[in-house]
């Protein structure tokens, strides 16, 4: 299975597929994909960390909630994240330490505002090779 993420075309919005050798890696890549839609992630340093814990009723809801939690912190605290160290992940709970930087308008150009991650087209596939997750964002 591949690593990383790819953008999937959609008429009004943007969807991504993220891959990983395991669920943790795929969830981390989905988050990385989301911030890459918003900004040039190469220009984001790791100067702040936030510990995040999210619960949901099942894995798909957890994926959506995890991404929306990051959007919430990004908007309220003005932080762009670039690395996601997921220590715990099961069907209903994710615990992670996220690394990023406070938005600096001079260095960080925000390309696209993401309103939210949606449940439409959400997919999680797991096989011997690894995991593929898919999410559609409202932008």
């Amino acid at each position: 299975m591949r690593d990383g993420f790819e953008i999937i075309d959609h008429t009004a919005d943007i969807a991504i597929a993220a891959y990983g050798i395991d669920m943790k890696k795929a969830f981390a890549n989905a988050a990385l994909g989301m911030f890459s839609i918003m900004t040039d992630i190469k220009k984001v340093n790791e100067t702040v960390t936030r510990d995040i814990k999210v619960t949901a009723e099942d894995m798909k809801a957890l994926l959506v909630s995890w991404l929306n939690e990051l959007l919430f912190i990004c908007e309220v605290e003005k932080i762009l994240f670039r690395r996601f160290d997921i220590s715990e992940l099961n069907e209903t709970k994710i615990v992670a330490r996220c690394y990023g930087e406070k938005i600096d308008a001079k260095r960080h150009k925000i390309k696209t505002e993401i309103k939210a991650a949606t449940y439409h087209m959400t997919q999680i596939e797991e096989n011997r090779d690894g995991v593929r997750v898919q999410v559609l964002f409202d932008i």
Binding site: M38, A56, K78, I110, T112, Y119, T122, L136
Partner: protein, 484 residues
């Protein structure tokens, strides 16, 4: 794609999606489009989404799609669905994340030749006075208890604080304040997002546009709205409820996931999560959604005030010389309890309009008095490079579409495809070559909104006009744009 199968042409502009198109549909669908538009609509999943909406419990008559329909999440954009209050559902996905995203139009006494020479100054003043861009924060900085006031009072909160005039409220849908708003049903997180963002334009397709009248179709109707002559200058404001609305939608889609199981509702798409209108979950969502709607009206009201100040500053004219009265303010992402005729009886229904505008006829009790003889003004923003329309509501909309019509151009191209073809700086250059002055916080976001990415709004409006669900009153062309 599945969208190409079995549509039945009803007349020149209406296509039926029969009830057996897909299992579980409670009503058929109707799609408004001409032949050319239909070919594009079939290219993605929009028709499938119209069919999905038809499976919602308690949906009455038809699952409707306006001609600006495109593929959304859950509901299609351009979707209209009415559910019986008695035994139907309400769905946050039928409103969307940007609750009460909408449009407001202000008239002026100015004409093109007075504004063109000062357009740079005017665009700069607007850009300076109205905060815009991703996650933009305003000058208001509300405390939590003030946020609750905004959620309860809507546009009236802003007018009480000195942002705008009493008369503005008279020509705002719902008079700028939806009943049933309960701030206790709004999460602390939503309020936290809303606090700093009141009075901001945001990003994406939100904008301020200085427009001039290009063509008038119904002189008398236009005059009633203060649209007097070709070349007259108007200002269009397009924004919504910002992060507060996004958070409320997210909170309640999550909540309703469990409601769906509790009430034994089967859904083809999880983003359609819903609950009975009269259930505690349904009522809570309605109360929270009304709060976001009120926030959006307060938001457009504050921006209106700063826009007026910008005109005064840039053009060095007095308010009475400018004559910047509001024409109207409409929501195009909202759910409302309304009375409509279903099978010959007046029934209370919850009308979901997701990317659709209310279109009430002359004489309807919810139309402001000054428009009671002509009907409700319907404001249709186009894309930046082309034009916008002012329409008016009709009886036909009441009988055919639960008093609804289109909301805009509707996307044709994905954002990534739009960006591949064009660069933001090229878009700005092209617009300036057409005599449109642009200021934007993000060139990339400008490229996504390039004209080529949209259906021609004139074609969308023409379908609604020919089908009789709204009538053309005037066409406006932009001469200045502030893009979030």
């Amino acid at each position: 794609m599945s969208g190409t199968k079995r549509l039945i042409q009803k007349d020149k502009y209406r296509w039926e999606i029969p009830q057996d198109y897909k299992p579980g549909m409670n009503v058929p669908g109707i799609l408004y489009a001409d032949d050319e538009m239909l070919a594009h609509i079939k290219e993605d999943e929009a028709i499938e989404q119209v069919a999905n909406v038809a499976t919602l419990p308690g949906i009455v008559s038809l699952s409707l799609a306006m001609p600006d329909i495109h593929w959304g999440y859950g509901f299609p954009i351009g979707g209209v669905a009415a559910t019986r209050v008695k035994d139907g559902v309400i769905s946050p996905g039928g409103v969307g994340f940007d609750i009460n995203c909408g449009v407001r139009l202000l008239r002026t006494n100015l004409s093109e030749d007075e504004v063109r020479p000062k357009i740079d100054k005017l665009v700069d003043a607007l850009y300076h006075n109205v905060p815009s861009g991703v996650g933009s924060e305003g000058k208001l900085r509300l405390k939590p208890n003030e946020v609750e006031d905004v959620l309860r009072k809507g546009a009236r909160w802003a007018v009480d604080k000195g942002y705008g005039e009493r008369e503005d409220i008279e020509v705002t849908e719902e008079r700028g304040c939806m009943g049933g708003a309960d701030p206790d049903k709004v999460s602390a997180r939503a309020k936290q997002r809303g606090g700093p963002q009141l009075g901001t334009l945001g990003s994406g397709n939100h904008f301020l546009e200085i427009q001039m009248v290009e063509e008038i179709y119904e002189a008398e109707t236009a005059r009633a709205m203060g649209i007097m002559h070709v070349g007259q200058i108007f200002l269009l404001i397009h924004t919504g409820s910002r992060g507060l609305g996004y958070q409320i939608c997210d909170d309640y889609v999550k909540n309703m996931g469990s409601a769906v199981r509790k009430y034994g509702i089967e859904l083809p798409d999880r983003q359609l999560a819903c609950a009975p209108v009269t259930s505690p979950e349904g009522k809570d969502y309605y109360a929270a959604m009304a709060c976001a709607a009120n926030y959006a009206w307060a938001n457009r009201q504050c921006i209106t005030h700063w826009a007026r100040e910008s005109f005064i500053q840039a053009l060095k004219k007095s308010p009475s010389e400018l004559g910047m009265e509001m024409v109207y303010d409409v929501a195009h992402n909202i759910a409302k309890i309304e009375k409509h005729e279903v099978d010959g009886k007046k029934v209370d229904v919850c009308v979901h309009r997701k990317g659709a505008t209310r279109s009430l006829p002359a004489g309807h009790p919810d139309v402001p008095k000054i428009y009671s003889k002509i009907g409700q003004p319907v404001l249709i923003p186009g894309d930046m490079g082309r034009y916008s329309f002012v329409l008016v509501g009709t009886e036909r909309a009441m009988s055919d579409t639960f008093g609804s019509t289109c909301h805009g151009a509707g996307r044709l191209q994905s954002r990534t495809a739009a960006k591949k073809g064009v660069r933001g700086s090229d878009v700005a250059y092209k617009l300036e070559a057409k005599g449109i002055k642009v200021r934007t916080a993000s060139l990339s976001s400008l490229a996504e909104e390039a004209s080529e990415a949209y259906k021609d709004v004139a074609q969308v409006v023409e379908v609604t006009h020919q089908a009789g669900i709204s009538r053309k009153v005037a066409k406006m062309r932009p001469i200045g744009v502030i893009k979030g």
